[in-house]
Symmetry: none
Subunit: 243 residues, 2 copies
């Protein structure tokens, strides 16, 4: 029987905390079955109702999912606190367009044009690093990402990016600049594909594409990154879940 610290916190909270710990440390991996309420109640020396309340909170937070008759399973929590949580593009068969490695097209020094400078509150003509990547879905290029990072905030980004080629820019910003992105604002539009876009995405020119323009802010509320994501939406879409 597992012992709990004799704090004043409610027992079900302590149980929840302990169960979360066991999930995080990998004792129960994503997709795996947890012991039944009865077993856990016995293990912790508590009633089933108390353990139930702990598990129900975890379920409501999406850490586990419950199925009557089968049991409680650890959710594959690729979903919530990972660096792709801002990525809203999904294929029409419900796969997130971010798992596969992005293809790096180029990474070069660039001047912030008006649209970028305004969004990131930079002096007009400020220097930075512009990176272009391509994302695939079902072996087909579906998304062009154009990413601008200001030189004054992210010095030497060009070389670091060319060396790292990270899957996630936000993981890269954490590692190299200690910048944690906590908020993004996106503007979504429909427009015709440019010649360059049509070429990269194997489209006809003037075909409709979705353009997402994003500004990412750090923990302190400072605008850090500007990017656009452009692609056709016949086999993928932008999904938004609101409550």
């Amino acid at each position: 029987m597992t012992m709990l610290k004799p704090t004043s916190k409610p027992l079900y909270q302590q149980v929840k905390q302990h169960l979360v710990h066991r999930v995080i440390t990998g004792e129960w991996k994503p997709g795996h079955l947890l012991p039944s309420e009865t077993k856990l109640a016995e293990e912790y020396g508590l009633s089933q109702g108390t353990v139930r309340k702990a598990i129900e909170e975890m379920a409501s937070e999406g850490l586990v999912s419950r199925q009557a008759g089968k049991g409680t399973f650890v959710t594959s929590h690729e979903g919530d606190y990972h660096p792709f949580r801002f990525h809203k593009f999904f294929s029409d068969d419900n796969q997130r367009i971010a798992k596969d490695e992005a293809v790096f097209i180029s990474s070069r020094a660039a001047t912030a044009h008006d649209r970028v400078a305004k969004a990131l509150k930079l002096q007009p003509g400020s220097q930075g690093c512009e990176t272009i990547r391509l994302r695939n879905s079902n072996q087909r290029p579906v998304l062009i990402e154009t990413i601008f990072l200001p030189e004054n905030i992210c010095p030497d980004a060009k070389n670091l990016l060319q060396h790292d080629k990270p899957k996630s820019i936000y993981l890269f910003l954490e590692r190299h600049y200690n910048l944690l992105i906590t908020r993004v604002v996106e503007q979504v539009r429909a427009r015709a594909a440019t010649e360059q876009e049509a070429k990269l995405l194997f489209l006809n020119i003037n075909e409709p594409v979705l353009e997402v323009e994003r500004v990412a802010f750090s923990l302190g509320g400072e605008p850090i990154e500007w990017r656009t994501m452009v692609g056709p939406t016949d086999s993928i879409h932008y999904r938004n879940d609101l409550d």
Copy 2:
């Protein structure tokens, strides 16, 4: 003692639905104190635990807030539950495209086509009410809304809508059917305008438009409404704020 319908739904769900109704209809107004669990349990002829579970769900959804020793209060849902909180369209000068009255084009009985039936989990061929509205920005039509409401959930919607012409469908659903919309899922795509759309929006045919397809769910998690919102994005955009 209040009677509940002898359906197969769990009692606490029925109690919750009924309590929500009493809040919406103004029996208990924002800021007011609800009867105690004991009183309500007595009133409904159920155990305190069952009523408790109903109230706890309402609290977790922010409809009421609880204070030990004092009681349960209706949340002043001025800020959070307002009916336009799901409306993500803004003009490029940052005005929300929803304040002005929508122009009603038509409201007619219709059969749910495949896309609708699948999204709302209806039998193929189910009946319902299809409403088309137009929204303006700066004296120009910019958004076509096509709204489908199932007949079995929203009986007589056609006549009620033609009579009311409500600014907000969700306010309408609350008033007439006691349905509180708490969650929507949207899929956003870019595509070419159809002939009819081009005519209504003063566009050339095949011009790129943004299409937002939405499914709205009630408090109980049941899909209620299907709609699309279609428009050009040269003077407006779809904005998403993520943290």
